[in-house]
Amino acid sequence: MTADFLLSLAQAITKGLLTGMVYGLMALGLSVIFGVMRVVNFAHGEIMVVGMYLAWMGFEYLQVSPMLSLPLIALLFFGAGYALQRAVISPFIGRPEHQQFLLLLAIAILLVNACLVIAGPDSRGVQMDSQFDSYELGPFVFDAVRVHAALTAVVIAGLLWLFFTRTRTGKSIRAAADNNLGALVVGLDVRRLYAFTFGVGAACVGAAGALMITIIPVTPFLAAEYTLLAFVIVIVGGLGSMTGALAGGLLIGVSEAVAGLLLQPSLKSMVSFGILILVLLLRPQGLFGKSGP
């Protein structure tokens, strides 16, 4: 093994870790929604793609950097998620899985095709000056945009952690997740908390979308891929576990980057699905999950 090879391997791993942080943030949204409401959000990748398009539009038409439009997108997605949960999803909580699946599938079809109608099928990306910047650390070169995206994702994940451990609403949501009946008995407005949770989950994935557009261009067809990717990550990490979602994001980010280097880029998701199958069979609760499904 040559030094060159080791260097490019290390380079691929760091690249995977940086992208993996954004994956982690995306998966966090899915994990929070499932962990609290036991609803699997089959429209997750579609919401992500809508976030990417909004950030792209902000850049293209208003010359606002995705990093700056991120808080606005997150806020907007929080509101939209809150409203969606209250108006449409709420009656489906506790219903059979296939009904929830069909509902979210319908929402996913609507979202992705709205993107297609508005922005067309061509891939859309942002061209920023910072995309050519890089940081050098010894022999390593890091893309500046990836570093910024990863750091922002870490900050948002940290804020989310503070929200769930330090604020009254965050603690109430965890209480409702832990024991729905108990939460109702002590007088928590569980329906409002659920809407809040879906809002938070949507905000996470919207923010992840704004970050992702700085790394790769968006097409409507990415949506289904991201939905699957988010599933793979949360199952590998442990559905409902916040640490698990982030760790799963890093693991899948690295495995994709390394598979792209050692095998072929087109085989990268095969490795992810291989990992998913192994985890489902050997440790179905995921690497960081507490109890079995």
């Binding site: 699997v40 449409v88 009656p91 489906f92 219903r95 899985e97 296939h98 009904q99 699946f101 069909l102 509902l103 599938l105 319908a106 929402i107 996913a108 079809i109 609507l110 992705v112 095709n113 709205a114 297609l116 109608v117 067309g120 099928p121 409507p220 289904a224 699957l228 599933f231 793979v232 199952i235 072929q264 087109s266 085989l267 998701s269 095969m270 699905f273 291989g274 998913l276 199958i277 489902l280 069979l281 179905p284 499904p293």
Partner: protein
């Protein structure tokens, strides 16, 4: 009791008459419908048939599979590949195809059920296997890789090699759909069918009263995979082309689930009614969106229709129709 009496026992007379009329109509339909009408009817029967196959797993045995494209894709690729490379006709190739899909089904089923994955977790396992296979076929030269596998379009009629016009494919898919319908009715009335319903309603209780849960689930997935593989073979020879990107796509798997869910899960008529509703809506929306010339518009109408149906008829359309018009079949 003979077989026919068992199959029709307990069914209201008006339902039997309706069924007979429907079958008679389907038999003579090609003479009544134009080319376009026939192509729509072919789609309806195709979705009714695969829906029936998927319904065995989800509607009867309660196991959610979102990876049925795996079995259809394998079946189609194997029969088409044998014909393309070795000239082995589909009437022989179909046995290999069905065997391979059943084997794939038993691997997925055994791993999933043995490690007691249920609900969403089992569904994700089925997706993972299907996606895994999709990427493998993308890189497999024998199957044409991502460039696809093409069968020569043959205008002449060669029934022995399933080459011919829409009429041939219409009667083949009609036979499959009718066969699957009768098979499902027979299965539901059998001991195995009752076991499945027990497992669907409460797997632990079923286990406790001595239902061989693992074996019953395995039989469900193998029958369902084998029937789905037949649809895959039919589909490959009807369209004359196969791409991993579509044959194993998650979208294909989802298509298979829609008719039974929309129509009414676990009912015999659900997949048929669902296929009529979905194909009908699809055709109407295609016409509508052609007026506006916007790509994606059709899917938006479609998404809205799904949303409305699942919000107002979450148990499906058929149980509601059956109750209103006294056809008698309820979800068992």
């Amino acid at each position: 009791m003979n077989l026919l009496a068992r199959l029709t026992g307990g069914v209201p007379a008006r339902s039997l008459w309706g069924l007979g009329l429907l079958f008679a109509f389907l038999l003579v339909a090609p003479a009544l419908l134009g080319k376009y009408g026939l192509s729509v009817l072919i789609l309806v029967l195709y979705f009714a048939y695969v829906g029936q196959a998927w319904n065995i797993m989800m509607g009867f045995a309660g196991q959610l599979s979102l990876g049925h494209a795996l079995y259809a894709g394998l079946g189609g690729y194997i029969a088409a590949g044998l014909f393309f490379h070795y000239g082995i006709g589909p009437w022989a190739g179909v046995f290999v195809a069905v065997l391979a899909a059943s084997a794939a089904g038993s691997v997925v089923g055994y791993l999933g059920f043995r490690f007691s994955l249920a609900g969403v977790y089992f569904a994700l396992l089925t997706i993972a296997f299907s996606e895994f296979t999709r990427i493998a076929f993308d890189h497999w030269a024998w199957a044409g890789g991502s460039g696809g596998l093409f069968l020569k379009v043959d205008a002449g009629s060669d029934m022995l090699n399933l080459r011919g016009g829409p009429l041939l494919f219409y009667y083949v898919i009609l036979a499959l759909a009718v066969g699957a319908f009768i098979l499902c009715r027979a299965l539901l009335e059998s001991r195995l069918g009752r076991y499945w319903l027990a497992i669907r309603e409460d797997p632990e209780a079923a286990q406790a009263v001595g239902v061989p849960v693992l074996r019953c689930k395995m039989i469900a997935i193998v029958i369902s995979a084998a029937l789905t593989a037949l649809a895959g073979v039919w589909n490959a020879f009807y369209y004359n082309n196969l791409f991993p990107e579509t044959a194993f796509a998650m979208g294909r798997s989802i298509e298979f689930t829609l008719a039974p869910i929309i129509g009414g899960l676990g009912t015999l008529f659900g997949p048929i009614v669902g296929a009529v509703v979905l194909t009908g809506l699809g055709e109407i929306f295609t016409d509508l969106s052609e007026v506006f010339h916007v790509s994606g518009l059709k899917q938006i109408f479609y998404g809205l229709a799904l949303l409305v149906i699942v919000m107002y008829r979450p148990a499906g359309v058929w149980p509601w129709i059956a109750e209103r018009f006294g056809f008698g079949e309820k979800r068992q």
